[in-house]
C-alpha cells in the first residue's frame, strides 16, 4: 500500500470546520448566492455525504471548501483545515494544498482527464510537483497506485492514453491521481453518476477501502441517496443553497425531520413495490437563486407548508440526538405534520392555511 505522511498533519480528530460559509457569484443578472451560510465539521477518517438535487448548491459547496472556484466567486465565513483558516488573512496558497492535503475526484472521467497526456504522466504530475519525485520514481509510484485502485496490468496501462480505457477504469485512474500524495481529505463529486450501475458499486467500494487504509476523510457529493446510504458516517442535505438537515447516517434515515428529506427518501423507487407504481417525484422545481425566496426555500414545493414557512426562514434546530440538526418549522413528527398528513390521506387539498 502506498502511503505518504508528513509532519504538521492532523493525525486524528477534527480535520475540517466550516463556519457560516457563504459563496456568491457575480453574474450579468446580479449576484447569486449559491451557498448560503453552511456550517459543518469533519473528523479524520470520517465520511460525509452531501445530498441534494441539481441546483441545490452541493457541488458549489464542495468546491467552495476546496477553493476551486472561478474568479467571479466570492467566499465569506471561515474554513478551518487543521489549524489554518483557508479564508483568513494568513490563508495559504491553495495550489500547495490541492493534490497534497485535499483532492477531488470529478464526475465525468471522460472529460476530466487530459486527452493528450498519458495516464502515467497525469498521475505522476502531483508526485513530482508536491513531493519532488524524480521521473523514474514517480512512474514507479504511479504503477503502484494503479495497482492499489485495482487496474489490471498497471505497467502496460501507465503508458496509455485516457481514450484507451473504459469509463470505470478512467474513474479509478482519477481516484489514483487524487490519492497520489496521500491527502487527508478527499472530495468525490458525483463519482458514480457517469458510470454503469455495476461499476458504481465497485468505485464506491474502492473509495471506502482507501478511506479505511489511509484514515482519510471523504466528502461524497451526490443526488443519489442510495450512494450515501452505505458509505457515509454523516449526511448533510442541501436545498436552495442552504443546509436543511444534517445527521449521522443511521439517524437521518430513521429519524429524519425535514419533509424534504422524507420526500427524497420516498422518491426512491423500491423493489418491493408493484411494477408500474407511479414514482413519487417531488413536484415543482428548485428555486431560482437570482431571486431567493424570503422564507424556507422548500416552501413552494412542500406538502406540509404553512404560512410561517413562507414568511420566515427556519433556523437550524437540534433534535434529540445532539449531532442531528434540521431547519423546519413543522418537522416530521410534529403535531402540525400529523394534521396535514391526515388531511392528505383523506384526499383533501395539499397545502393548508393556518
Amino acid at each position: 500500500m502506498t502511503s505518504l505522511q508528513t509532519d504538521g498533519r492532523v493525525a486524528d480528530g477534527r480535520l475540517l470546520t466550516v463556519e457560516d460559509l457563504r459563496t456568491t457569484f457575480a453574474t450579468e443578472r446580479g449576484p447569486v448566492c449559491a451557498v448560503d451560510g453552511v456550517s459543518l465539521t469533519l473528523d479524520r477518517g470520517q465520511a460525509l455525504g452531501i445530498v441534494g438535487e441539481s441546483g441545490s448548491g452541493k457541488t458549489v459547496l464542495s468546491r467552495s471548501i476546496m477553493g476551486l472556484l472561478p474568479s467571479t466567486a466570492r467566499r465569506e465565513g471561515n474554513i478551518w483545515f487543521g489549524d489554518q483558516d483557508l479564508l483568513g488573512p494568513n490563508a495559504p496558497d491553495m495550489s500547495r494544498l490541492w493534490g497534497r492535503e485535499m483532492s477531488m475526484v470529478f464526475q465525468n472521467p471522460m472529460v476530466s482527464l487530459n486527452p493528450v497526456m498519458r495516464i502515467g504522466e497525469q498521475i505522476a504530475e502531483p508526485l513530482r510537483i508536491h513531493l519532488g519525485m524524480s521521473r523514474r520514481d514517480a512512474k514507479a509510484t504511479a504503477i503502484r497506485l494503479l495497482r492499489d485502485v485495482r487496474i489490471p496490468e498497471p505497467d502496460r496501462r501507465v503508458d496509455q492514453y485516457p481514450h484507451e480505457l473504459s469509463g470505470g477504469m478512467r474513474q479509478r485512474v482519477m481516484i489514483a491521481i487524487a490519492l497520489a500524495c496521500g491527502p487527508t481529505l478527499l472530495f468525490a463529486d458525483e463519482p458514480t453518476t457517469a458510470l454503469d450501475v455495476t461499476v458504481q458499486a465497485q468505485i464506491l467500494e474502492l473509495i471506502a477501502e482507501q478511506r479505511a487504509e489511509r484514515n482519510m476523510s471523504v466528502v461524497l457529493v451526490t443526488h443519489d441517496l442510495g450512494v450515501v446510504a452505505g458509505h457515509t458516517d454523516v449526511i448533510a442535505v442541501m436545498y436552495g443553497g442552504r443546509l436543511v438537515e444534517i445527521a449521522p447516517t443511521k439517524v437521518l434515515f430513521s429519524q429524519m425531520r425535514m419533509p424534504y428529506t422524507e420526500a427524497l427518501l420516498q422518491s426512491i423507487p423500491r423493489l418491493d413495490q408493484k411494477s408500474h407504481t407511479r414514482l413519487n417525484a417531488i413536484p415543482g422545481r428548485p428555486p431560482d437563486l437570482h431571486d431567493p425566496p424570503r422564507g424556507c426555500a422548500f416552501a413552494p414545493r412542500c406538502a406540509f407548508v404553512r404560512d410561517r414557512c413562507r414568511e420566515e426562514a427556519p433556523p437550524l434546530a437540534t433534535a434529540e440526538n445532539p449531532d442531528h440538526k434540521f431547519a423546519c418549522w413543522y418537522p416530521v413528527g410534529s403535531p402540525e405534520y400529523h394534521e396535514t398528513k391526515e388531511r392528505i390521506s383523506a384526499g383533501l387539498e395539499i397545502g393548508s392555511t393556518s
Binding site: M66, L68, S95, R96, L97, W98, G99, R100, S103, M104, F106, N108, V111, S112, L113, N114, P115, V116, M117, E125, P126, I129, H130, Y161, H163, M174, I177, A180
Partner: protein, 317 residues
C-alpha cells in the same frame, strides 16, 4: 495505410488538374507562340525566326493539343522547364529556378517561424488575461494587422525600420555571406509574419479559452498544478489543432504574399523572378514558377495532415 494512399492519390489528381488549368491558360489564352516568345513571335528577323523554330520544337507547337499537354507535363516532371527565351543565350529555366528558389524558401521559412514565435506567446498571454484590458487592446491590434494590406505594411516597415531607424539594410548583394543574407531577410520576413501572427494568435487564443473551460483543466488545478504550468502543459497542446491546420494551409497564402514582399524589398527570389519575367515577356518562366509554387502548396497541405495525425493521438490510425 489505406488513408494515406487515398490522400496521395487525391493530391496527385489535384496536381494534374492544376497543371491542366495552367497549361490551358498558356495555350488557350491568346496565341501560344506569343505567350512563349513575347513580341519576338511576330518578328521576321532571322534570330527571331530561329527562336520561333526552337520554340515550336521545344514546346511541340506543331502537335495536337492533348499530345502537347502530355509531353509538356512529362518535361515538367523531369525538371525540364523549358528555356528562357527572353535572356541572352537562352539558359534553361531550371537554372534560374535553382538560383532563386533558396532565397524564397528562406523568406518563407523565416516568416512562418517568426509568425509562430510571435503568435504563441501572444495567444497565451491573451488567453490568460481574457477580456481584461490588455486582451482587448491586443484584439484590436490583431484586427488592424489583419486588415492592413501586405504591401502597405511592407512600405510602412520599410520606412520605419529601414529608413528612419536605419536598422536594416535595403540593398542586397548576391555575394553576401549566408548570415548577412539571413539578416537582410528579417524585415521582409517580418512583413509577412505580422499579419499571419495576428491570424494565428486570434485562433489560438479562442481555442485556448475554450480548452481552459474544459473539466480536465479544473482537474489539473485540483492536483496542485500552478496556473502557468496548466497553461503550458495542459491547455496548449489540445488547443493547437486548429492553429496547426491553419498554419499549414496559410503557407500557401503566404507564398502569394511573399511574391509582393520580395519585389518591395528587392530580394532575388522566385517572386521577383516572376515579375522580371513578366516585364521581359518571358512567359515560360512565369509558367514554370506558377507550377512549382502551386505544387509546393498542394504538397504542404498533405504534410499538414501528416503532422496533425502525429500530434493528436486520438486521430492516429
Amino acid at each position: 495505410m489505406n488513408y494515406w494512399v487515398q490522400r496521395l492519390t487525391a493530391s496527385l489528381m489535384l496536381l494534374l488538374a492544376v497543371s491542366m488549368l495552367t497549361f490551358a491558360a498558356m495555350n488557350l489564352l491568346g496565341d501560344p507562340l506569343f505567350n512563349i516568345l513575347g513580341p519576338a513571335a511576330a518578328d521576321t528577323k532571322p534570330e527571331s525566326l530561329e527562336k520561333v523554330a526552337a520554340a515550336k520544337e521545344l514546346y511541340y507547337l506543331d502537335r495536337p493539343l492533348p499530345e502537347r499537354y502530355v509531353r509538356w507535363l512529362g518535361d515538367m516532371v523531369t525538371g525540364d522547364f523549358g528555356v528562357q527565351f527572353g535572356s541572352t543565350g537562352q539558359p534553361p529555366v531550371s537554372e534560374l529556378v535553382k538560383e532563386r528558389f533558396p532565397r524564397s524558401l528562406t523568406l518563407l521559412v523565416m516568416a512562418q517561424l517568426l509568425a509562430a514565435m510571435i503568435a504563441i506567446p501572444w495567444a497565451l498571454i491573451s488567453a490568460a488575461r481574457a477580456n481584461k484590458p490588455a486582451d482587448r487592446i491586443s484584439t484590436v491590434n490583431s484586427f488592424l494587422l489583419i486588415a492592413m494590406p501586405n504591401f502597405a505594411l511592407a512600405v510602412i516597415l520599410k520606412y520605419v525600420f529601414g529608413i528612419k531607424l536605419g536598422w536594416f539594410p535595403l540593398t542586397f548583394k548576391a555575394t553576401d555571406p549566408w548570415l548577412t543574407r539571413v539578416y537582410q531577410t528579417f524585415l521582409p520576413a517580418l512583413t509577412i509574419a505580422l499579419p499571419a501572427a495576428a491570424v494565428y494568435q486570434r485562433l489560438l487564443r479562442t481555442d485556448l479559452i475554450t480548452t481552459l473551460q474544459e473539466d480536465f483543466i479544473l482537474m489539473a488545478r485540483s492536483k496542485g498544478v500552478g496556473r502557468r504550468r496548466v497553461l503550458f502543459k495542459h491547455a496548449l497542446r489540445p488547443s493547437l489543432f486548429s492553429f496547426i491546420t491553419v498554419f499549414g494551409i496559410n503557407t500557401g497564402t503566404l507564398i502569394g504574399g511573399s511574391l509582393i514582399v520580395e519585389n518591395i524589398f528587392r530580394i532575388p527570389g522566385l517572386g521577383s523572378a516572376i515579375v522580371e519575367a513578366i516585364l521581359r515577356e518571358d512567359f515560360p518562366v512565369v509558367l514554370a514558377i506558377v507550377m512549382i509554387i502551386t505544387t509546393a502548396f498542394v504538397l504542404v497541405n498533405v504534410l499538414v495532415d501528416a503532422v496533425y495525425t502525429l500530434i493528436d493521438p486520438r486521430v492516429r490510425r
